[in-house]
Symmetry: C2
Subunit: 498 residues, 2 copies
Amino acid sequence: MAKQKKAPRPKAETPKGFRDYFGAEVTERAEMLQKIAAVYHRYGFDALESSAVETVEALGKFLPDVDRPNEGVFAWQESDEDGHGDWLALRYDLTAPLARVYAQHRNDLPTPYRRYAMGPVWRNEKPGPGRFRQFYQCDADTVGAPSVAADAEICAMLADCLEEVGIPRGDYVIRVNNRKVLNGVLEVMGLEEGAQRDAVLRTIDKFDKVGESGVRELLGKGRLDASGAYIDGVGLSDDQAAPVLAFLTSKGGDAVETLTNLRAAVGASQIGAEGVQELETIAELVAAQGYGPDRIEIDPSVVRGLGYYTGPVFEAELTFEILDEKGRKRQFGSVSGGGRYDDLVKRFTGQAVPATGVSIGVDRLLAALHAKGRTDTATEGPVVVTVMDRDRMADYQDMATELRRAGQRAEVYLGNPKNFGNQLKYADKRASPIAIIQGGDEKERGVVQIKDLILGAKIAENATLEEWKERPSQYEVPRDQMLEKVREILATYGGDDA
Amino acid sequence: MAKQKKAPRPKAETPKGFRDYFGAEVTERAEMLQKIAAVYHRYGFDALESSAVETVEALGKFLPDVDRPNEGVFAWQESDEDGHGDWLALRYDLTAPLARVYAQHRNDLPTPYRRYAMGPVWRNEKPGPGRFRQFYQCDADTVGAPSVAADAEICAMLADCLEEVGIPRGDYVIRVNNRKVLNGVLEVMGLEEGAQRDAVLRTIDKFDKVGESGVRELLGKGRLDASGAYIDGVGLSDDQAAPVLAFLTSKGGDAVETLTNLRAAVGASQIGAEGVQELETIAELVAAQGYGPDRIEIDPSVVRGLGYYTGPVFEAELTFEILDEKGRKRQFGSVSGGGRYDDLVKRFTGQAVPATGVSIGVDRLLAALHAKGRTDTATEGPVVVTVMDRDRMADYQDMATELRRAGQRAEVYLGNPKNFGNQLKYADKRASPIAIIQGGDEKERGVVQIKDLILGAKIAENATLEEWKERPSQYEVPRDQMLEKVREILATYGGDDA
């Protein structure tokens, strides 16, 4: 009889574009989310956790990123009894689910409804370096508040969040623009809704990348891009394009000057005047709460999301420089964006509901803190109680228990204890600050050996013989003084883990 | 020209079997997860967050629930350039991904690898009342530790977790059984691996529901179930079935008696003897750490997961009674389960890797705390600053800002301020403890009105006229004493929100 062929072993891999997060990667993010949630909460926002899975119908197509309008979702069809059920999909952001939740529960929810949400979202896009198909978002939105006081509040809250997680004043700025001002400019230009207007909007969105001259070319005849390809232009004359460029470059030395420039750019347009007035009100409101232009400023060059939002648009940028992968200095850039969008709920109910909100990119924010060396580097590894005699596991567990009850992270080595060197290698891999050792001899004498692994590593690296003699890295203490000694050692490294 | 037909509005609904969580539902769970994570961390476990999406190949089929072996996953096929990519799926638990992660990263991870993970998992099963297709799991596992000291540690840790989240000693018990003992019993019975043995295992799993006599019938000729349907039995004679029943009912008055009964049940089986020895070691280890049989006990009637695990099996049960939906008293039951499974990583690497772990059902645990009235009921609503004059938003924002800076949750009413009654209704819906009021007259006089909404509600409900006179629910104070007065009022309700 032929030998049965074995099924091939499955590959131990995440799907392409997905990754795992280990240890501090998880806890640092969790701590950051907690800090942000605390600020959101203090501002009166309530937590919401909607399901990760939505019907495709409810999600709709509201991706804010005009650069990638064809972003996909992960979707599948339910198989009901007839074999054809609803199409379901993983949420691609936290805003579309909010619209569904508000429409579904609006009779039970307060109005205005201030809610925050944090959690993973999924995008079925081509993965790339540093670009994943599952990532965290951390949003706060106010639904049902027509006043720009709601936008101003969100800008102030965003500033508080950044400072709360460790970005000091001076290292960030929140820039505010307004889609209505742009609408005024387009109105003055005589651009009605339609293909040409959409093309202008898409072009403006490239302002960040191609700058003023690039936008000028793209609004006109077109432009050679960096790869050498020729990008067709919108086909406006220089005169026609002028108001758009005036708008984008109207930032002055202070808010008064900027607002004056914007008023000139929108001319007689009513919607444009309204937009400028809103920006002025936001500037006044945040200033009255102590948020000056060093923290929140009017800046018409903010274009991210301008095509998506319907009123004020805001973006938080970190202003310090970091070194990129090639060692070149560059600004860290945007970590958060948001704005007013008044159409999302209308899809469901037919009624326009004003809404404004912000999304914080926690992963980018964490990267920024790492780049500045501002993350907590406290001793996080556990004290490792080594196993010299496997029949005395109860003794070793007792030591670990005593340490834990005192709030100290601790564990007994649970691998094969035969090779003591492996136990110390394990402790090293865990970044353990201390190893506890008690062989038969020590047990008889009622003592334990306490090995200071941090000092030991330092000595091994670069200590002089004098230092070695002066401060040995291993201590013998009576068993009942173990906890005390562990605390003493850890105190010299600036903190225990309790 | 015919009028263009409008697309129908999307339904604002979660997919069937999914739900949203609001406010305290979210924050209470988050707090519970934090508390459990702190215990896991103290025991030396490291956080892991694996991706929610796995390849179907990597997930395999390892659902622990033998009752529902055909449980589905939510899966879809990637469309690559050729139109047929990998099948991907949402994780159905946190154990299968751990096996994949350990196999993938084993060269970089410490061994033993203690990890904890918490997050949603998804099951494509038929939804029912209280049964959702997305729910939270909260797991801790030790991979690469062959010793039952690892199992004992997890039982102790589970006890600590339950006490940490608010289940006092005496209200829970962790019961431990061992699959190897059952294997010994099956060996003694002469049941080789195969269909009959599997049928016996499935029958044992029903012990919780049908009890001793039910299992006896099901091992024999069969049995009428509650619905009147006849369930075929395994077909063993009473004599043949006796060892299984002896095993399931061998719990004695103390561990010594139970272990003696188990030794009798496994007879000369070597694997059985090994299993009994493991249980004895676990009992000794946890006792040495101060966990007596009031908290962790050997109990061979624990059958949940016995078909899935390969060694020790544990289950945490809450022992207090609650009233069910029909007002009948019943035990709350299981909130956590786990055990040793040595085959999961082998799928990937060909090498058996010992592993043991536990999963805590946080949603059930939260329900238990609610049933016992042990959740935090502090005043959570924000102070609401009402808007009497919409031109003075800056003043009102300033008040909210002052309160927030002092750590007090506060917000300005951001709906249409025209109808003051709506503002108070809003405050009521938000469970606000206090409303702040400042009209033009108060502004001129430099004062604010502070309305104690909790007291106001009480007075409206049942206070006598004397009480009303003695303690009015609205106070006028100078603007610069607003914060102080708010704190004073909140202090009478036992805490601010800082």
